[in-house]
Amino acid sequence: MTTDNSSAIPDLDFNTASAKRSRKFRALKDKMASSLIGFGGVSVIIAILLIFFYLLYEVQPLFNSAKIHQWQDNEQVIEAYPAPGEGETLYLTMEEQAEIGLRVTDQGQLNFFNSRTGDIMKQVQADIPAGASVTSFALASESSRIFALGLSNGQALVFKHEYKSEYPDGERVITPSVSYPLGEAPIDVADTSLDLLAINGEESEFLLVGGGKNYLNAAALSLSESLFGDEVEIEIDNQHLPELNIDATKVLLMPDRRWVLIAGNNGKVAVLDLRNGEGPAVSQLLDATDGNITTFDLLLGGNALLLGNDLGMVSQWFLVRDEQNLWQLTKIREFEGADAALVDLTTEHRRKGFATVDTDNTLRIYNSTAHRTALSEKLSDKPIDMIAFAPRANALLTEQDKVLTLYKIENEHPDVSWSALWEEVWYEGYDEPKYIWQSSAANNDFEPKYSLMPLAFGTLKAAFYAMLLATPLAICGAIYTAYFMVPTLRRKVKPFIELMEALPTVILGFLAGLWLAPFMEDNLPGIFTCLIIVPLAIVAFGFCWAQLPQKIRFMIPDGWDALLLIPVVILTTLFGLSISSGVEGALFGGDMRAWITDDLGISYDQRNALVVGIAMGFAVIPTIFSITEDAIFAVPKHLSYGSLALGATPWQTLTRVVLPTASPGIFSAVMIGMGRAVGETMIVLMATGNTPIMDMNIFEGMRTLAANIAVEMPESEVGSSHYRILFLAAFVLFLFTFVVNTLAELVRQSLRKNTVHCNPSVTEDLKKNEHLLS
């Protein structure tokens, strides 16, 4: 049954309408597939760029400068308005929402006014005794809202301004009021007119310090509720303070009610210690600054002094304990300022920031911890007399010749600067500048410490110890597997070790934290003994093996040595661990941990860098092993055969021929392993104490960038400085691994090119192992 196909050419027309259509359709499909697949390929680059730019987008606001402009409501600029009330302004402030301002005048008026219009909402006239007048003003702190007026008769009045928010009909209504924390009656502070006054205290204990130029008196008040709680009794204890001939111009009292700071003429500052054993005494008298002191204020928390002079310099000071254990007022830092004299300085209510104005009418906003000038802007041509922050530091009131202007400030992240992140910072309460990470605390006037240094250090420390264990093991193992091992065994061993890479790191961390850490603490001498005797035992076994008669040696062919060593290693390790307590008794007095702490003076944590090194070494070994093995195995065989044929020993061939050829691959393997160790989260999170310390000590823990993100991300407020700094930490990690991986990949790409030139057969090997390489 045959058919003759050739006899009749079938009538085929390739240009029928339907064929054309289907060709067109096919071309279209092809084009679409090409572009889709092209997009798929390029989208890999897009993905990495997306991560990069998104992290950058979250981090970038940290480094923005502050902005200021006149307040706008519904795009309507709020115009300046005359200062409400009569008299000269002593104090200016605002409430939480910046809706209501308070202006205290030297007529004893407390004027609450609408901060947009200047309309007086409530006016309270202080009850000044007949014949007396207001001579001074003192603020306890912005956040306590307690202030005092000093009178010419030596008495003082203490007030607290308060606000109540209500929501009748869903609209917010804020009602201001004044309370008297120390009663309405005037308090006797001194016998003379109170030209200077300072107040501080909380709840039931208050202290007022007041007097004239060279004469100061202290009045300590303690409030006690009477038995039935309906009356408050006040006890006053008056005390003379030592005389100082420095023509005091300003006086401040720290919140601990121990230290009085007095500004004098020619830049002098005196420190009085009220709790000296023998009564109040001058503890320090120093020439703090050139020129005259014009502003003299305490920063939020009351522990730091801000001192401004008529040369435009602001300096920050705190009490630091010196070697003799004495508190010394010490200059911590200076802020770059103007050339013009400072007129007023006001502190933020919630952050360690402050603002100054000078005779040049320039407003500057600083942050003390970050040592940063967030804003420097000339506000107007007319001289500014006074400035005041709203509690959220989002609004600023200025007074110019009894005209108030409301400004809006955008200053979200003044507390971050390059120096705060990466340099030593002298924090309040510390004896010296330090690297510290401490992002949150229980109290409100806490100074956040955002130094990334301890975290970066911890990251590198963990990676270093992990690499210390993993690199030699992985590379040596890879050398043997690729070069000496018989192929049958190699095909089993290699996937077996690579299997470890599939193990979730959380399991390693869990075991390291809960099993390995206590195990190592108990068997520390044993572990160190093993580190020494295992290599010795391996070499000794090798030598003994070489001494055995050939008959026995030939039973096991070359390349199976690794299996012979397994029992050797196991037995040696068990032996090492079993003599642990013996070694401990003989060398370390029975307790190696105590020996380390007492004799070496190194502190010992149960979850330490050694545990992390071993656990993370586990995680890194398969990565390095796999890539190194591929690189060595890919070295063309004709090179090593040539070398062997010329009489080199296998070891000589390996070190002189094979390893140099494979070195770029080994380098890239180490780089990739390093990248993995740096970014590892769960192991370090679970197997260290997560204390951000900077110490290379192998027996102490650390906190890494990655673990820090994992610990703190859930509790950080979205959009806050803390949140963005965590993004910055992620960005730093990203950049580090990016550099390391890119370097490794570039090296590998050049290696691939070179070997392809060398030997086409190797490309096959490389192709086979491509999935491992990429």
Binding site: G41, A47, L55, I621, T655, T681, L726, L746, Q749
Partner: protein, 401 residues
């Protein structure tokens, strides 16, 4: 053919051996790790024998019943410092952690005891353990079974007699019965009532939709109302059924003697499983082991995740992996196809290879931060504001700022 050490070192052999050692150590580490996980994890379900012993501390003797969980050597000095009056000059003493269970009686599940204090250790066959839904494990001797508060069977000895076996079999049957009822209750509570609630909610939303569309035709509302009444009636019926089941469920209870002779009554509705580990043969233990293992992978956790299974966690893991695979596989395959088949090998492909390697190398925590920030706060917030045409009845829920 003996070879001198010098020659041997010169040939580089020690280094080869060290390299071989590295492989050996790596293999041991992998095997050791897997073995450690397996032994530590899988041994957990093996039924431990229940020990009964007398503990004599400072002259007063108490009985102790429980499983020995862990033993360790502690320096005697340390124990003496902790206030223990210990004679002898042994340097170390064994201290054991004993799971005494019966949290309702003992207040604590575990107790530490120095082995020196323990005497008359024995493993009576008739001791039984009961896993419960509250108060943890129970250990004791079965004394009586009660039905509706009336004793239906009792036994008063410590020996294995046919009488006792009969009581035990009855006990097992009653536990089985209670578990069956529990299943029925679960079915009703979870599925049937759940279905009714779901439909009621749908009806409410339908009614709401009609109101929002301004439908005034009463008949449409009536249809919904009729269905709602039907469902409510059905719900009432189920409630009654449940009530009856609960009465049946709570019918039985057992009385058992715990350590120191105290008798405790426990409702069978609280019991998940009863067994007598000291009386079990190897095969029975294996059976128990696999039952526990199956429970571990297939059940919900009980008692604040300390008992029961991890099924929800397994479900979550698998779910996440499946979702991820569906979303990401096409992406990866297309990129690979592009690299191999479509792109001209050159600068762009090198760039893509670098990007791929970086995607693989970026620490997972960075992806976590990126995901949280980009998908949750950034895209999430943007999508929310885009689709903020909220129904008017929800508007009052939006806080006024």
């Amino acid at each position: 053919m003996n070879i001198s050490f010098r020659e041997w070192t010169k040939s580089g052999s020690p280094w080869v051996w060290l390299n071989a050692g590295a492989v050996a150590i790596s293999i041991i580490m992998v095997v050791g790790l897997l073995a450690l996980i397996a032994v530590r994890g899988l041994s957990h379900f093996w039924p431990a024998d229940i020990m009964q012993a007398n503990s004599t501390v400072n002259g007063s003797t108490t009985q102790m019943i429980g499983e020995v969980v862990q033993s360790e050597d502690v320096p005697t000095i340390q124990l003496r410092e902790a206030g223990n009056d210990l004679p002898g000059d042994e340097e170390f003493m064994v201290r054991s952690l004993i799971k005494i269970g019966n949290r309702d009686v003992n207040r604590a599940d575990f107790t530490w005891s120095i082995d020196y204090y323990l005497s008359d250790r024995e493993y009576p066959e008739m001791l039984f353990a009961a896993e419960r839904r509250e108060w943890g494990n129970f250990y004791g001797y079965l004394r009586a079974l009660k039905e509706n508060g009336e004793v239906v069977g009792s036994y008063d000895g410590y020996d294995k007699t046919p009488e006792y076996e009969a009581l035990w079999n009855d006990f097992e049957n009653r536990v089985e019965r209670a578990l069956d009822i529990q299943d029925d209750i679960y079915q009703i509570e979870k599925h049937r009532i759940g279905a009714i609630n779901y439909e009621l909610e749908r009806l409410r939303l339908k009614g709401r939709a009609l109101e929002l569309d301004g439908v005034t035709d009463q008949s449409q509302y009536d249809v919904l109302e009729k269905r709602r009444n039907e469902l409510n009636a059905e719900y009432e019926g189920l409630q009654q059924e449940l009530l009856d089941l609960y009465t049946l469920f709570n019918r039985d209870s057992y009385v058992a003697e715990v350590a120191n002779g105290q008798q405790v009554e426990v409702s069978l509705s609280k019991v998940v499983r009863i067994f007598r580990p000291n009386n079990m043969g190897f095969v029975e233990k294996v059976g128990h082991y696999f039952a526990k293992l199956w429970e571990f992978v297939s059940e919900d956790p009980r008692e604040a995740n300390t008992e029961g299974g991890i099924f929800p966690a397994i479900f979550g893991t698998v779910m996440m992996v499946i979702l991820m695979s569906i979303l990401v596989t096409p992406f990866g395959v297309v990129a690979a196809v592009y690299l191999r088949e479509y792109a001209k090998q050159g600068f762009v492909t090198r760039l893509i290879r670098i990007a791929v390697n970086n995607l693989a190398g970026v620490p997972s925590i960075v992806y976590g931060v990126f995901g949280l920030g980009f998908f949750v706060y950034f895209l999430g917030a943007t999508l929310m504001t885009c689709s903020s045409r909220k129904p008017s009845h929800l508007r009052h829920l939006v806080p006024r700022v």
